[in-house]
Each structure stands twice: as structure tokens, then as C-alpha cells.
Assembly symmetry: C2
């Protein structure tokens, strides 16, 4: 008896995972977290109308979801004033990034991203054998000019940029992204990850013609819409590119509850506006908590605040560890010099009360 014969590529891949989930940490520590502020989930939750739609769909879940995601794509197209042919829905941005990388990237194909940007994108590029070229952050933000220059130099098939950025919470105005698209090298495709755009200041999202073949935008119901556990993302792009997803996607991958919940959430823009208000208030409070502890909250265009701990990565890692040990789940950037920071998702008052209680203790412990 022999085992399966993996492809050479898969045989060569490490069994690492992009992220360790909070449940894994809770099992390890033998207790639930007091405040869940590490995964940029929305503690403000989804629209009550979306919850009602999901409850209704649960009773109809014996039926497969529509494999064309017709009603949701129609609604998204109307919302963005594009055609449904410009919209593909998938299993979160993570799922869509996987399909996109598969469509474009083969062994050795060059891809450009920022050093310290979204690890799951890197996971997919490695998973299809691509070669990642990383450019450094500049002043705690992704550097569009450097990304474009590197892409031109290496002949990148894909250029990844998130705006607003995770993990720093920074953002570029629409004009900067617009200029980046206009400078896109021939044969490159920009992946504009706008997961956090619903929380960003007005004027952050550029106008992009739906049929612009140089860029594909990624959006999600996980952040502003508060449904990370539903797994619904979508992409907006040139119709031939969007159609090509049908060659590889899991056609029945979007379940019935997922489609119903997203459709209802999209229809409740008043809830999204309410979430924006609450996020703004929570940003201010985290800023105040940071200041009370002698730390500096960086400007945030997202549903999290990245807090500069004022020393090196080892110190920030120590602060994070002490927060986690006290029941506050947070994360932090992986790469220097951004790893001088911790990253705190924006929560409700109950969660931020716990943060205000624990952070001084964690800092004291980290300072030894």
C-alpha cells in the first residue's frame, strides 16, 4: 500500500495556516476571551433585517442556493450602478482571491504585494506556485508607486493592494488609487481589496469604469455589514474576467442562508450608516484609552485601530501576549517596523471597558 501521489507543488508546500483562530487560543488557555477584538469582526453585528432573513432561510436550507447568485448579483449591480455581468459572488474575499490567483498564477509567475500585507493572499500565491515580490510599507501605509514600479520591473501578473489597509488602518484617497490604476503596467491586474471601504472616509473609493481590464475590486459582507461568519464576498470587474470565474469556482458554494443574509443586509443601508457612527465613536474611545496609557493610536479608516506601543516588535509582542493572557483577543502586524504596534478591533462599550481595564495591566507586565 502506498499513499497518494501529490503534485510536486503541493508536496513542497508547508502545512502552515494563514491565521490561528481565537477559538484555538481559547482551547489552549482553557477559558473564553472576555473581549474578542482580534479578527476585525464587527461587534455591532449585522442588520436585524439580515438576521431575520437568515432565520427564514434556515427553514428553507434543504434547498441548494441558486448557483448563479442571481438575486444578490442583481442587487449588488444596482447598488454599484454596474451590470450583473460585472459581479461575481464567492466564499468571502478569501475564496475569491483563491480563484483569482488560480486563474492567473502558475509556477514561477511574478506577483507583487506589500511586505506585511494580507497573509491569506500570500497563502494563495504560494499555493499556486507563484513568486511573491514584496515592497516595503511607507509611513505605515502601502506604497502604490513602489508597487507599480516593482510590478513593471518583474512583469507581475497580479498587484495586490488593500485600501483601506489592514493591518495598519491607513488609507489613500481615491485620487492616489486612481493614479495607481492609470500607471498599471500592461499585462498586470491590480487586486484592489476594499474589505474595509464601508468604514472609510467619503472619497476613499475611486470611480472605476466597470469594464476597466486593469483592476478587480474585492468587497465583503464581513466587516461593515457585520457578517464575517456568513462568508460572502464579491468582486467587481471587467465582464470577461468575471465570467472566467465560472471556469473554476465552486458553483454551488454560496449557500441559501448566505445569499439571503447578504441580500437583506445590502438592502438595509441605514444599518450600515449606524455602524459607521458607532465605529467612529469606538475609534475615539480606543484613541483615548491608548493616550491614557501613553500610547499613540494611528489614524484609522477601518473597524480597527492600530496602536503604536512606542518601542520595538518584541515589546509589542509582549503587550499582545499579556493582553491575551488577560482575556483580550487582539492581533498585531507581523513585519517591522509596523510590528511596534498592536491592532485592536472596534467593539461595543462592554468590550472596550475590558480593554480599558486590561491594557494598563498588560503594559505594566510587558514593561516588567
Amino acid at each position: 500500500m502506498t499513499g497518494p501521489r501529490y503534485t510536486p507543488l503541493v508536496a513542497s508546500l508547508p502545512a502552515t495556516v494563514p491565521f490561528v483562530g481565537p477559538e484555538t487560543q481559547e482551547r489552549a488557555r482553557g477559558a473564553a476571551f472576555r473581549a474578542r477584538l482580534g479578527a476585525n469582526e464587527s461587534l455591532f453585528g449585522p442588520s436585524p433585517r439580515a438576521i431575520a432573513a437568515m432565520e427564514q432561510a434556515a427553514r428553507e436550507v434543504w434547498m441548494y442556493g441558486d448557483p448563479e447568485n442571481h438575486d444578490l448579483r442583481q442587487a449588488l449591480a444596482a447598488h454599484h450602478r454596474v451590470s450583473p455581468a460585472n459581479i461575481v459572488v464567492g466564499e468571502g474575499i478569501d475564496g475569491l482571491l483563491g480563484y483569482l490567483v488560480r486563474m492567473l498564477v502558475g509556477t514561477g509567475d511574478p506577483v507583487v504585494t506589500s511586505d506585511g500585507a494580507y497573509p491569506t493572499f500570500n497563502f494563495h500565491v504560494a499555493g499556486y506556485g507563484g513568486t511573491l515580490h514584496k515592497v516595503p510599507y511607507k509611513a505605515d501605509a502601502e506604497d502604490p508607486e513602489a508597487l507599480i514600479a516593482r510590478a513593471a520591473a518583474v512583469g507581475a501578473k497580479l498587484i495586490y493592494i488593500a485600501n483601506p489597509d489592514n493591518p495598519m488602518g491607513s488609507h489613500h484617497p481615491a485620487a492616489t488609487i486612481r493614479a495607481m490604476i492609470d500607471a498599471c503596467p500592461d499585462g498586470s491586474l491590480i487586486v484592489l481589496d476594499e474589505a474595509y471601504i464601508d468604514l472609510a472616509p467619503d472619497g476613499t473609493a475611486p470611480d472605476i469604469a466597470a469594464d476597466d481590464p486593469r483592476v478587480i475590486r474585492m468587497r465583503t459582507f464581513s466587516k461593515g455589514y457585520g457578517m464575517a461568519g456568513l462568508r460572502v464576498g464579491y468582486a467587481i470587474g471587467d465582464a470577461p474576467l468575471i465570467t472566467a470565474f465560472n471556469k473554476v469556482r465552486n458553483h454551488f458554494g454560496m449557500g441559501r442562508i448566505a445569499q439571503a443574509g447578504a441580500l437583506a443586509a445590502l438592502a438595509d443601508q441605514a444599518w450600515l450608516a449606524e455602524v459607521r457612527t458607532r465605529v467612529a465613536a469606538a475609534r475615539a474611545r480606543v484613541g483615548a484609552i491608548a493616550a491614557e496609557n501613553g500610547l499613540t493610536a494611528l489614524p484609522s479608516a477601518t473597524n480597527f485601530v492600530t496602536v503604536d506601543c512606542g518601542r520595538d516588535g518584541d515589546f509589542a509582542r509582549s503587550v499582545l501576549k499579556e493582553c491575551v493572557a488577560r482575556g483580550v483577543f487582539i492581533r498585531m502586524p507581523f513585519v517591522a517596523p509596523m510590528d511596534r504596534c498592536i491592532r485592536i478591533s472596534l467593539g461595543d462599550d462592554t468590550a472596550l471597558d475590558v480593554l480599558a481595564e486590561v491594557l494598563p495591566q498588560a503594559l505594566a507586565a510587558a514593561r516588567g
Copy 2:
């Protein structure tokens, strides 16, 4: 401006889809189906306890699901008396088949299946550039000996067999599958798709050592458990193979509602037993309806009945078309000689009343 540069493989793929969904047909005909009996969904629905768990999880869906699917894997392992290290959970069997093919099949790699078996498996093999070798059905059943012989001849990396079979509803006893595994050529992996096993006669599922490297079993919550629209499947296999899924899977792909619903459904085995009883009664009724119309229902080990229309594929296609035109959604085998049949999912009395009303009309129309 140029468009994206696809991989040569993806550029060569057709934009076909494995199945057209019933919603697409409903939009084309401008009316809802009166009876939804084409996708082997369970009209008997999920456990009420599963519905309650999904409703509860809908209120907690702001949280990502546990990326390790820990609680569900623990429960599945206990249910099957294996270790959690032998269980991987994924986005339906469709999703897991995609990951598995990706792990093993590269351009030109040989894969064996039956001609007329599950198209979505073929979709994945084509999608990763594999070469499909097909053996014919034998007496309306998959032919394990022929599959093994062809696999040995071509050096297949994967051998697909569904037991019970879709689309014919036939099954092999455990001993036959056991003999197939024992005859598995070195370097081949058998994919034993047991999507319908929960509806099969006792003695259909073979005992397989969890660490047998020659076979991976696929199970689902879509059929007997009645949650097709939730998208939860799992595989049971040798721990190294199961671990290798972590190299490629969408780690946060299983949402919070999906995990909660599956966990509650698994705990309610009494509901599954009730569904088996109802399925048996519905089988008998479809058999009677077929007989009243001069047709022959084939024996079924599944939640559908395949009905021999007694003439050629053109006639069966005509019967199907006339059923669909009258609001009864059914499907049929694609390949001769099985395409002399139509395939009717097992429904409740309401749906089967519609079938009993419409089938004679459809036959009369098809007979011209």
C-alpha cells in the same frame, strides 16, 4: 490597456457549468416550479434542532467560524469512531473534491471515473488539467472491477466511485467496495463518494481502517440530513492526507451557521431515522406512480428514484422536458444507455401528488 494574463490551462477551459440550477429554469419559464424534485434535495428538511441551532448562530454571525472546525470534527470523529485527525470539513463534497483534485492532479495526470458519474468531479479534474479515463456502467451500476482495471492500466492517481450511485440510485454491498479497495493499484487513491450512504440499506458502508492510505471517504449534510443549502461536507481518511488539505483549503471557509447547523444535525440521529422512514415510503409511492404509468422504477438506495422510461434517450429527454414545462423539476442521466431514464428526487406527499398528476400528461405529450 491589456487584460489579465490567464494561465494556459485556465485560458483553455470552457466556461461551462456542471449543472443549471432550478432557479435559472424558473426565471426562464417565468414561474416557480410546483414540485422541486430534480436536485436530490431532501424535501423532508433538516432536524428542527438543527434549524434552532442555525437561528441561534445567525445572531452570532458577526464572528468568523472556527477555522479548525474543532467541535464539529470532534463530534464527527466520535460518531465514526476515528480520530479528529482523520476528519476534514469543507464547503460540501464539491468543495472537498476540488481541494483533493488540486492536491493530486496536475496537467495530464490520469484519473478514472465512470462514464455518466458525477459531473462536478469531472469539472474539477478538467479544471486542474487532469486526463479523465471513463469506464462504462454495467447493469445500471458503477463497475468496481472495470474501474480498478482501468486505473491499473493508466496509472491513475485518483479513482472515483459513488456508493450508492448517482444518477442511477444503485448500490454495491460493503463487501464489493471492500474488495475494490483491496485491489487498489499502488499509487492510486480511491475517492469513495458516500453522499447518499445515510439513505442506503444497512451493510452498504464498508469498514475501512481510518489510516488506510488507499481510500478517502466523502460524506455530506446535504442529503439525509437535509441541509443542501448549508454547504457542509466532510472527508474521512488517513491523517497525513487529511492534514494536507490544510495546505490548500480556505481556512475560514466554513461559516459559523454552517458549523452550528451541522453539529446539531449530527446530534439528532432520531431525525435521520425518521427521514429514512419517510424516504422509504416515498420510494414506494414513486414506484407505484411509475407502474401506474407503465414505467419501471429502478431499485433505489438513495433519496431519489431513477425511472426507466422504456425507450431511448430522446424519449426520456422529451418526458423530462414535458414534466419541466408542467412545473415539475426533475433531472436525468446524461449518458446512454442510462439516459433512457428520468431521475426523481423523493418528496413529501404534496410534491408527489403533483408528480402523479403531471407524469401521465408529460408521457402523453412525449408520445405525441
